[in-house]
Symmetry: C2
Subunit: 414 residues, 2 copies
């Protein structure tokens, strides 16, 4: 007999509290995105479904700043997009240079080590970025096959400048990868101008969607490299699709050669596309492009400027070099004699607002406060600052009352 | 300047046609599942969010027929659950026995080969299952560390009997894995009675949800084995969580040691849980348990019985041994002088009903007609049969008209 559940466990209808998510992500999804997910499903090779897949490819090209044919989704969280890129670009034994300036740079090295790559790094202390000169020196030193980095690393709130990055890699015959999870839809991505081969992202930050789908773009050069490693499953071999000669990709799920064949006119069966997440990704992109990329980036910049101004007006110190801070998430030092977690708890319990803690060397030292996507709005920045001012006051942090909000309003319009 | 999109490409609101999906999956999601996904998001370590995660663990235990503590979700499609199980159980060089009786058995071997396992197989022709004796002989022959198989393989519509399977593996000191993607929520899963270590599934078939989340359950023995391979990321190391001594798991995303740490009270940061898909998985499970497992399996059985009776009444031949056919998807031979794809096209274009084609040796020879989850309903079975009868008639297949539906109605109530 099947085990039947204690009816006590049947639990109520989903009914999450209405939290304002002002951490480093995930953030609240745009209501249109949530509604798009309630559309009914389609068969995976239904022409209406493959039509939506093709639309998603078209919609994400401008968001990545590219004309790349291979612009699509990996079915998983942003981390799935990172692993798909790396495992498809890198074969065991390949030398890979990681440009590392925070926790997500460490993650790239971690994934690469598991794949069996020889991992070399050029690094900056947390709170700084890596200069192009240092990257060039790293490339000269280790002659990598692939160079991988992060665009915006939310662990440090730094954004790595990428103009000129891809050219350095190409000049040395290396392919390049950029994780843009934390910036896509909020700061300019320019895959083509950067001359970068693969860029991946996620929906749950500036795109204003749920975690669970990873947009990715692949240059023709990288696509050729990956296709040379194509290895079809025995159960679905076809005479018109040949295996490549390169080393087989270590993962089946993340094999971008097969994922490209699935998204191409070949429609080769691979995973079953996560239809609701594809609907979400499509709606995120529609919203971004309706607003317009320039207007959207300007809105994120205004939100970051206002948040920073409000925090500084309260006498708080901002973390990291001003010249290289992300505009959509701001690190701020927890003041002396204030317990960061107590303030975060009060923010959530009294105001239903979430702000972020930090990782590694910054844990307990800074909060990370985001203003991304649907939450990069003036009133949400002002509400967050007003609530933080109140919570700091309750913790005995003395500050001139009522100063943060006007400072933020002025900065928004600056 | 960012590349702006041609406004012609902004495309309309998501508006898929209302298709009745009677193939081997995906099928139409239950409307309650679609609505659950429209709930707003939460921060990933918000107590309300981790509360929902714990509820999901409780809800899926009876569905898997287990008391396993480690019953949770992998963020990706059903194939992601398969790969997570295999890459976490198997180290390069391990001998793994695959019990293969269709396309998805081939897929297990394919994934294992990429991991670097030594893959041995025991096989049955497509349309049959593998006997316990043959499995025992295979185990004796190759002394595997892991034995892996499929419960219901939709490529052949066969279901592998699993009573006694896990005991054979345990007696030989092997861990066992079962892919139950095509049966979870529609046929009984009994992970504990089968004495199987890891079972994984997907939402998009009998659970009546969208593809994109893979429920998985892990025995304590397998969890210990996997935890011995734990390797924490440098960016999030904690003094209270030690690395294991076993070989590092080849994938970061699919490292179930880290996924367990994320779903445990440790709440170790890994991926960002795909919140909307978690809401969907939770609602799928609530619907299953409200109906009751026994009632749900009986409903699927009635639907399969009715479909089979209707098809046979039309003079069509059912594929595969009756004793071992899945109840939720039925293979049926395309009659002589009928073009299978033309009929499928007419079904879709005239009736908005999808039925499935087939893979490999069965391509063009059989259709696969499902009745799963929200679509395992009498009226949907009857509508499908009536439409198929009409489409076969249009193709010149001569059959006594009006005979399929009454036969199916009688069989439903039998």
């Amino acid at each position: 007999m099947p085990i039947e559940l204690d009816p006590m466990l049947l639990l109520g209808e989903i009914d999450p509290p209405q939290r304002l998510l002002m951490g480093p992500g995930p953030i609240n999804a745009h209501p249109r995105v949530l509604r798009a997910m309630s559309a009914d499903l389609l068969g995976q090779f239904d022409p209406e479904m493959t039509g939506y897949m093709n639309q998603v490819m078209a919609l994400y090209r401008p968001i990545f700043g590219t004309a790349n044919r291979w612009t699509m989704l990996v079915d998983g969280t942003a981390r799935a997009g990172i692993e798909a890129a790396l495992v498809s670009l890198v074969a065991p034994g390949d030398v890979v240079l990681v440009v590392n300036f925070g926790r997500f740079g460490l993650l790239l090295g971690e994934i690469l080590a598991r794949i069996g790559a020889v991992v070399e790094t050029v690094e900056a202390p947390w709170g700084e970025i890596v200069s192009l000169d240092a990257i060039a020196a790293g490339i000269a030193r280790c002659q990598p096959k692939v160079v991988a980095t992060i665009h915006g690393d939310t662990s440090t709130t730094m954004v790595q400048p990428l103009d000129g990055f891809g050219a350095l890699c190409r000049a040395a015959g290396a392919l390049s990868y950029v994780d843009a999870t934390a910036t896509i839809g909020g700061m300019e991505l320019a895959a083509d101008r950067w001359e970068v081969d693969v860029v991946s992202g996620g929906l749950q930050k500036c795109l204003g969607g749920p975690s669970g789908s990873a947009p990715i773009t692949i240059s023709d050069t990288a696509a050729e490299h990956i296709t040379r490693r194509r290895h079809l499953e025995q159960g679905i071999r076809r005479p018109d699709i040949a295996d490549g000669q390169g080393p087989r990709i270590v993962s089946n799920y993340f094999d971008l050669a097969m994922v490209m064949d699935y998204w191409s006119d070949k429609r080769l069966n691979h995973h079953t596309e996560a239809t609701s997440m594809l609907y979400a990704a499509r709606e995120c992109a529609r919203i971004v492009l309706e607003e317009g990329l320039a207007a959207r980036y300007a809105r994120h910049e205004a939100a970051g400027r206002a948040m920073t101004a409000g925090l500084r007006a309260m006498g708080l110190e901002i973390f990291g070099e001003d010249a290289h801070r992300m505009i959509n998430v701001t690190g701020v030092f927890v003041p002396k004699d204030v317990d960061g977690e107590t303030v975060r708890l009060a923010m959530r319990e009294q105001f239903e607002i979430e702000i972020g803690t930090a990782f590694g060397p910054l844990e307990g030292r800074i909060w990370r406060i985001g203003a991304m996507g649907y939450n990069a709005m003036k009133h949400k920045v002002l509400l967050t600052l007003a609530a933080l001012e109140a919570c700091l006051g309750m913790q005995g942090y003395s500050l001139p009352p009522g100063i943060a909000v006007p400072a933020a309003m002025r900065a928004w319009d600056a």
